[in-house]
Amino acid sequence: MVDATSGAAPLNGDPGPRYDEAPIIEVRDLTISYGRTPALRDITLDIYRHEIFGIIGPANSGKTTFLRALNRMDEFNPGMDVDGTIRINGKDINDWRNVYALRSRIGVVFPLPVGLPLTVYENVAFSPRLRGIRKKAQLDEVVERCLTRAALWDEVKDRLDSLGSLLSGGQQQRLTIARALSQEPELLFLDEFSIAVDPVTTMRIEDVLKELRSELTIVLVTNLVQQARRLADRTAFFLTGELVEIGATEDLFERKVEDERTTGYIEGRFG
């Protein structure tokens, strides 16, 4: 059996989620459609600083679409129609004059690792370079720090100059996490990051995430119910574009739910 206590256990010096402060992400009446087909309907929720916020639900329930809307990636998806309000740090994301600065505050990790066709080093140094960091020493420092925090440094420190795509799947996924961290983000979005990663690496990444919680806010989209249970402080359940349930992860797994479908999904009766 899995450990009964849900959510990441607070580590030393980690005070945990700040439910008493203003939320970092506020979503109000968010409806997204592709053409005439609605992908997400009337989502309203808050995400607080320093929490790991889990989103679970079967395929096509709008989880990925939700993440894309948060950093205004709809710009690159013609036909994706976003309606409603999203505020990050209290500021409507559509009010940002420089949307690229907004995106640079948000690190994103995809289901399949996307190593840029660059060396390991250049993958991690990419974002710092965009921000105008040129000094080799400074870049070296960022690369080592981010790779270390993604639990990859020891494995790649001797092959920083080989192509990122030559690493194993699990290593590549940690490389993309290191790359996301190199943005020095306030928010980290993970979209089913473990789909192509072996269980041992998954566990290592989960440990990394638990440590990161003290520094940033994590939105974890996952198709593994137990992963949400292990990591998330609070969890939302999306089903066919609707927010069915939201609450403390513990409550969801203790069946303190408002909707029967939540229990059904968690217990694996569908999905």
């Binding site: 990636m73 013609p78 690229y100 995106r103 505050r105 996307v114 066709p117 965009l130």
Partner: protein, 289 residues
Amino acid sequence: MFDATALNRRSYRAQGIAKAVFCLMTVALVVPVLLIIGTLIYKGGPAISWEFLFTPPRNGMTEGGVFPALVGTIWLVVVALLASVPVGVAAALYLSEYAPDNLLTRTINLAIINLAGVPSIVHALFGVGAFVHFFRFGTSILAASLTLAVMTLPVVIVATREALQAVPQAFREACWNMGATRWQTIRKVVLPNSISGILTGVILEVSRTSGETAPIMFTGATAFIVFLPESVFDQTMAMSYHLYYIATQQTGVPEEITFGVALVLIGIVLLMNAISIGFRVYLRGLKKW
């Protein structure tokens, strides 16, 4: 096992015949190329020498070489490339990286198809009307090269667009998610990973440009001039026009020389083409993803 019925056997025979007929048809198309190249080498080969390449024609073009025409063709091609590559790459970037699926984009695509389909002599008329007279460049390398540039623009656009679209979309997404602007994404990821494909297209364009005759006849090429061009406002000899001239307008040119000129011209064109093809085949085995 199944027995081969009469019907079955007949349809297999039909298949065999069809295959043989189509094979012959293909052969009928490709054999002439080999015959032509073979004849040009056989009849023009003896004329080729360093002297032929590096001396000007003498004695009413009945002796000497092709040096000024060779230099002129290089001028025309280089100036045409300088004009068409930036514009063509920009157009391909727009179509591949920016253009939404709308009426304007469809119009642009249609314009590209038409630009490639308009007869070369109409391009020549355009060059005369626009560059020679309207912009007052006179008959010059500049006017001829710009005419060639407009004409071969579709080659660059199509090849570049293909190269750009071969870069996986996931790379762009990853960059955008890191907060890179579209331009940063293009400059740091898309272009570096498609540059060799673009180069393939540019080499192909060199091949096309160096063989064109009609567009330069009235815009900048001249039959005979002793001086090598010194600026883009000079007229120049060119290999393609030189071949036309000695084959049709000048009498008494020995066969060896006309075949030699044709051989040099087709040599340039096919060499460039072969480099482009070879490059493409090589690249296919070199993908980083």
